[in-house]
């Protein structure tokens, strides 16, 4: 499983996002040291990476909370499960995305299919 955390230093959410991702991985018996961290420093790099805001967390290439925003250097807006706005994903979403990916490629494919249904 490839877990990526992309961030922009202009947004202060990176430390919290990193800590919550590490905690979610540790809770599932995964090695937090395996997180691939990438700092996105320019708009050009953001566009090249499809980076729509900081932090962006991808598991096996899939965003944990896909949203149709343009690429660029910005703080990303997440929705928690209770509807509140947040600069970081809901830890429960991180847990579920990691759990789903751990179940293997069939389940991973199913997850992609559901995502594509939500995005016309």
């Amino acid at each position: 499983m490839r877990v990526e955390l992309l961030f922009w230093d202009g947004c202060p959410s990176y430390p919290r996002a990193c800590a919550e991702l590490e905690a979610a991985m540790a809770a599932l018996g995964l090695d937090p040291a395996a997180i691939v961290v990438t700092e996105v420093q320019t708009d050009e790099a953001a566009h090249a990476a499809g980076f729509i805001g900081s932090p962006t967390i991808r598991i096996d290439g899939e965003d944990v909370q896909p949203t149709p925003e343009p690429a660029g250097l910005t703080c990303r807006v997440y929705r928690l499960r209770d509807g509140r706005f947040s600069p970081t994903p809901d830890p429960a979403d991180l847990h579920d995305a990691l759990s789903q990916a751990m179940k293997g490629p069939d389940n991973d494919r199913n997850r992609r299919d559901r995502t594509s249904l939500r995005t016309p």
Binding site: G10, S13, T74, C75, V77, R84, S86
Partner: protein
């Protein structure tokens, strides 16, 4: 940049309908530099509105000011501001556009949100965050409320300054 204890700059800025607003020598005036796109501003937004409601009967004036360059953040355009106001997202709080960013610069605002509280003489008495944790609604803008309570009781806010937390203000290119 305005320091605690100094006279803050006077200004007039238009709201989304073009009406001018500025500090009006209320018992306390709360200026909140904020915006549409930032998750920190959005996370604290309801707490700002609650302060405006809860202190209105004590004469406290709350003004929300969007200083961001809309060419860099299109969601911070006047059109998007107007849409939020029309949707009722600002309650009774005027939402002002600092198009030239001169007000944000004169106050030394750094982030959205960044809060400045002036007394009736226009002296800056508190500057910083609404409370200690954007993610905890139970904080209930405790730092801002504490500052207002102190000022309205004739005391000095303590703390008078806290670190602003949020997205950096999106300045125009020089």
């Amino acid at each position: 940049m305005t320091a605690i204890g100094e006279i803050a700059p006077a200004f007039g800025l238009p709201d989304t309908l073009g009406k001018q607003h500025g500090p009006a020598h209320a018992p306390a005036t709360v200026l909140v530099f904020t915006c549409n796109h930032c998750p920190y501003a959005l996370a604290w937004h309801d707490r700002m509105l609650a302060v405006a409601r809860d202190y209105a009967d004590r004469g406290v004036q709350v003004l929300a000011i969007n200083p961001n360059d809309a060419t860099r953040k299109p969601k911070d355009s006047i059109e998007h501001m107007r849409h939020r106001v029309e949707a009722g997202e600002l309650g009774d709080v005027p939402y002002l556009r600092d198009e030239t960013q001169s007000v944000a610069r004169s106050y030394g605002a750094q982030t959205t949100p960044d809060v400045f509280v002036l007394d009736s003489a226009g002296v800056l008495r508190y500057r910083g965050a609404l409370d200690a944790d954007y993610s905890d609604p139970a904080q209930n803008a405790a730092w801002l409320r504490s500052a207002l309570d102190a000022m309205l009781d004739g005391r000095t806010p303590d703390p008078a300054q806290t670190p602003p937390v949020g997205c950096s203000i999106k300045w125009r290119d020089a």
